[in-house]
């Protein structure tokens, strides 16, 4: 009997959230499994090295004067936010970074996001976090910032009531409390009033170099203070939720405004949708090589040899559902095989099996019926062009990232593992349609 096993009662499985994937798990959650090794060797190396940490999350050499802008991507539901929570926790240490996390989905108007909004939010969160631990700031910098906003923003705003709202209540605030409140008010103004939104944004954009200078001076002051107080060698801001942006918004912010985003002098990790990884020409000038969180490797490139990933996935399943609720281990192995090492896909299979089960058990029949259901979802999604591209991938193992492939990756039809190794989602591979296209090719017929 393992204390970490999930519920043994069928209905409790659902009640206790074992079939949920909405929330990013926090370290300490029973359902949390360390998948670092299962995702491939030294998987976090490329993320940690520029930040001066080794793969064991120990700080080695942190360059206080260099700033890194890291794009963090992965398939939807492969565990990005869960891993980010863990990374934030491990990097946040006196001999490492003072880490500040923000989530744009929670705090911004998700329908209309501009890079300025993200910067405001970052500023707000930094200030709030510092204020919460009662840190003070050089009065001169504070006055500079206050002056800048008073003159350049508040006084420029035509809408009187908005200016008053922003100004109201700020005079009594001091230190980081003031900065936090001010940015919070700006963020709120941007979020709620669509007419003011553009105005405030334009004011900042038109004088970005001024904003940047004052903001960077403040960042510099903060970093220095963090070091003095032994709270961190530098500052790291993690922006989550940006991977949810539409392709259009995402390109607008991360490509068109890459230069503005990378002019702020501290370290940033942004989550981005996986397609951005393939826009290397546009991104490599500004950002580190994008970090892709790979799926769990459950099989070593078709050698049939089980890897550490298999056991990790099994652990993940049992932490959500007690082993006794499966009819036998073959069923568990089948689920893992069909998930392709993709966490959300795995939970989808479990969910569908739960919905289809006659015996209140996760048995072979319910899993098969569940997968049958998921196949229908993929078949709904895929066009003949997509199938043809899949056949090409299967036959030629090519690594091209054309538009069709980008979309297939975007929708988890093709899964990506460590070192950009690609495989067709096992569920898609099982569909009659895919088989049909495979056979056509084999028979030498044209489509």
């Amino acid at each position: 009997m393992n204390a970490n096993y999930g519920p043994m009662d069928f209905w409790q499985v659902k009640k206790e959230g074992s079939l949920k994937f909405n929330e990013a798990l926090k370290p300490g959650d029973r359902r949390y499994v360390d998948l670092t090794e299962a995702r491939g060797e030294n998987v976090f190396n490329r993320l940690l090295k520029p930040l001066g940490f080794d793969k064991g999350f120990t700080p080695r050499l942190i360059d206080e004067h260099e700033n890194h802008y890291i794009l963090f991507c992965g398939h939807r539901g492969c565990g990005k936010s869960t891993e980010l929570n863990r990374i934030a926790e491990k990097l946040h240490r006196p001999d490492g970074y003072f880490v500040v996390q923000c989530n744009i989905v929670e705090d911004l108007d998700i329908n209309n996001i501009d890079y300025v909004d993200i910067l405001f939010l970052a500023a707000q969160k930094i200030a709030e976090k510092l204020d919460s631990i009662d840190v003070s700031i050089n009065k001169q910098h504070l006055d500079d910032l206050r002056g800048y906003f008073k003159e350049r923003i508040i006084n420029q705003i035509n809408k009187k009531e908005l200016a008053m709202t922003i100004e109201a209540g700020l005079t009594s605030k001091i230190g980081f409390d003031f900065i936090g409140s001010m940015f919070a008010k700006l963020t709120t103004a941007i979020k709620t009033g669509s007419t003011y939104k553009e105005e405030v944004r334009m004011l900042v954009k038109n004088q970005f170099s001024m904003f940047k200078t004052i903001f960077n001076r403040m960042l510099d002051e903060i970093k220095q203070m963090l070091r003095e107080k032994n709270m961190g060698k530098s500052l790291l801001v993690i922006i989550d939720g940006t991977d949810r942006l539409t392709r259009e918004d995402c390109d607008k912010i991360f490509i068109n405004h890459a230069s503005q985003l990378t002019q702020l002098e501290t370290n940033f990790i942004y989550t981005v949708p996986i397609h951005l990884v393939y826009e290397t020409i546009q991104t490599k000038t500004f950002y580190e090589a994008p970090f892709v969180l790979p799926n769990v490797i459950i099989e070593k490139i078709k050698k049939g040899e089980k890897t550490i990933g298999w056991d990790a996935m099994k652990d993940l399943i049992y932490r959500r559902i007690h082993p006794d609720l499966f009819d036998n281990e073959n069923t568990v192995n089948y689920i893992i095989e069909m998930s392709g090492g993709h966490i959300r896909e795995l939970i989808h299979i479990l969910q569908e099996a739960f919905n289809s089960s006659d015996m209140e058990k996760f048995d072979e029949k319910s899993v098969k019926v569940g997968i049958e259901r998921l196949k229908a979802d993929y078949m709904r999604l895929l066009s003949s062009e997509d199938y043809k591209r899949l056949v090409k991938l299967e036959k030629e193992k090519d690594k091209e990232s054309d538009d069709i492939m980008k979309n297939l990756l975007f929708n988890s039809v093709v899964l990506e593992y460590n070192d950009y190794y690609r495989e067709i989602n096992p569920i898609v591979k099982e569909t009659e349609e895919f088989r049909k296209y495979m056979n056509m090719k084999e028979n030498g017929r044209t489509f």
Binding site: K14, N22, R244, R373
Partner: protein, 539 residues
């Protein structure tokens, strides 16, 4: 594979509803508006039974996702119970060959709602547009709980053709034995035909209806286990269809079956289950009906609580009056009157019936009037006013004959036999009883047959025609035993002991000469021995 058939999808839908917990996202595809409405009704009924509020939310007029979120949050602020949001009118936002802005925005809303909006979202789209979710709201799609697609059944199902003759009558009581058997044959053939068709909601519903009819027919033929088996099949299908109304009605049927077979406690359990569902669904007529059946069952309990039974009948009466169901109202008044009658309050019992009768006079509802008159006769019997009773019964019979309803005449004819019996007019009594018996036999009403056999036995006993009295009692005893009708069995055994203790005839020889099973003879011998033992003790 059956996995994608509509009934299978409904089964999965019910599992989803059973397991709702926190933020849920289900995408519904429908083949036609009619199937969408049908499935939405299934959702609403099942949620009502589970006390989950279902809120329809039409987004066709909304432009900005912010409006949507604000409206959702406003609704969610009121009360804390779990709720399901049916998001309708989505198709307005999906244009062919163009990415849907609304879907795109929903994509991002999901993240916000998932954190602090622990309710279920059911998005409805025509089946042909479901893939647009995947394309325009890939994030929302990726986090879906499941997708449920319901095909249009109007197109897929060929017109129903079951090549057999079916008898259409409102109540199975109106079928005579031959008709019942022919109806059963029809239903078995129809079930076989349907079983060979592919599963659709329509087919399953029909099948449930056929099983339910079979249950009722076997019930009326006195075949308890086959009837129950068919009701269980009905319940099984109704369960997979999520047909709560049907389930409530079948529970009533099962209750009546147990009631008829002398298991009032079990019957009450089923009526209560039926009542709970009907109350949750707000189905007043079904609530009143369940109350009424419960009340009747209370009357058959050995030590029924008079007040409790009355309260239940009054509940039922109130509802039937509310919804203006005059026929059922009258029927309940009959039950209440019977309750007063059983409690010895003949005056009140009579008052209820007389008032009710005056309401029906001149309406042409002859069946109802005949029934009320017959009940008035029964009360007069209780008051031992035999001449008055006879008049009521004769009047009732006249009306019933006019309305050409043969089966309903039998109980009144039996009652006329009772009047003649009380007047010690054995010849008339026998004539009436035999006439009633013929009808009961024709319609295979075995309980009533047994009752009449019992009366004929008592007449024969009074006439000192012992051998034939014994034969009648035995026939009554055997039928009552089939139905576990304890109270009636006790009455027959009492009369049997009276018969067997008559001096001057060879009771033991008569028992051995009976054309009946060894079991019955054994019982009779035991009674005889007991009588002899007591007689010796008294000496």
């Amino acid at each position: 594979m059956d996995v994608h058939s509509n009934p299978h999808q409904v089964k999965r839908l019910l599992r989803v509803l059973d397991a709702l917990n926190g933020f849920e996202l289900v995408i519904f595809g429908f083949g036609s508006l009619s199937i969408a409405l049908e499935i939405q009704a299934v959702i609403k009924n099942n949620c009502r039974v589970k006390k989950i509020e279902v809120i329809d939310f039409d987004v066709s007029g909304l432009e900005h996702i912010g409006e949507f979120e604000a409206m959702l949050r406003e609704k969610a602020d009121k009360g804390k119970e779990y709720r399901v949001f049916n998001i309708l009118g989505m198709q307005r936002h999906v244009k062919i060959g163009q990415a849907s802005l609304f879907l795109n925005q929903l994509n991002l809303l999901r993240d916000r709602l998932a954190n602090d909006f622990p309710y279920a979202f059911f998005f409805w789209l025509p089946e042909s547009l479901v893939h647009r979710f995947a394309l325009d709201a890939p994030d929302l799609w990726a986090w879906r709980n499941t997708v449920l697609v319901f095909e249009d059944e109007e197109k897929s199902m060929e017109p129903e053709s079951i090549p057999f003759q079916r008898l259409e009558k409102e109540h199975y009581e109106e079928f005579n034995l031959k008709e019942k058997q022919s109806q059963i044959n029809y239903l078995h053939d129809a079930v076989k035909t349907l079983m060979n068709k592919s599963r659709t909601l329509k087919r399953d519903k029909k099948l449930a209806g056929f099983y339910s009819d079979l249950g009722r027919l076997y019930h009326s033929l006195g075949n308890f286990s086959t009837s129950l088996e068919n009701y269980q099949k009905t319940l099984g299908i109704q369960g997979t269809l999520g047909d709560q109304t049907g389930i409530a009605s079948t529970y009533n049927d099962v209750g009546m079956l147990y009631q008829k077979f002398g298991k009032p406690e079990e019957a009450l359990q089923y009526y209560k289950k039926s009542l709970e569902i009907s109350q949750a669904l707000g189905n007043k007529a079904s609530v009143a009906t369940a109350y009424r059946y419960m009340g009747r069952t209370y009357l058959s309990l050995t030590n029924f609580n008079y007040r409790e039974a009355l309260a239940i009948f009054e509940q039922s009466l109130k509802i039937f009056r509310e919804i203006g169901d005059r026929l059922n109202e009258s029927s309940i008044i009959g039950d209440i009157s019977q309750l007063y009658y059983l409690n010895g309050d003949y005056a009140t019992a009579k008052k209820y019936l007389e008032e009710d009768l005056s309401m029906w006079q001149g309406t042409g509802e002859q069946n109802v009037q005949g029934q009320i008159l017959s009940n008035l006769g029964t009360i007069a019997m209780g008051e031992r006013k035999f001449e008055e009773a006879k008049q009521y019964f004769q009047e009732a019979l006249k009306i019933k004959k006019e309305s050409n309803n043969l089966y309903s005449q039998a109980p009144t004819i039996h009652q006329l036999g009772n009047v003649a019996f009380e007047e010690r007019n054995w010849e008339d009594a026998k004539l009436h009883y035999r006439e009633a018996l013929k009808i009961f036999q024709e319609f295979n009403d075995r309980n009533s047959q047994a009752n009449t056999y019992g009366q004929l036995g008592i007449v024969a006993l009074a006439e000192t025609n012992y051998a034939s009295s014994l034969a009648y009692f035995v026939m009554a005893l055997e039928i009552f035993s089939e139905y576990n009708a304890e109270n009636y069995i006790k009455i027959i055994i009492y009369n049997l002991s009276r018969l067997l203790s008559q001096p001057g005839w060879d009771a033991a020889g008569a028992i051995e000469a009976l054309e009946t099973g060894e079991e019955t003879k054994k019982v009779l011998r035991l009674i005889l021995e007991e009588i002899k033992r007591r007689a010796t003790d008294e000496h």
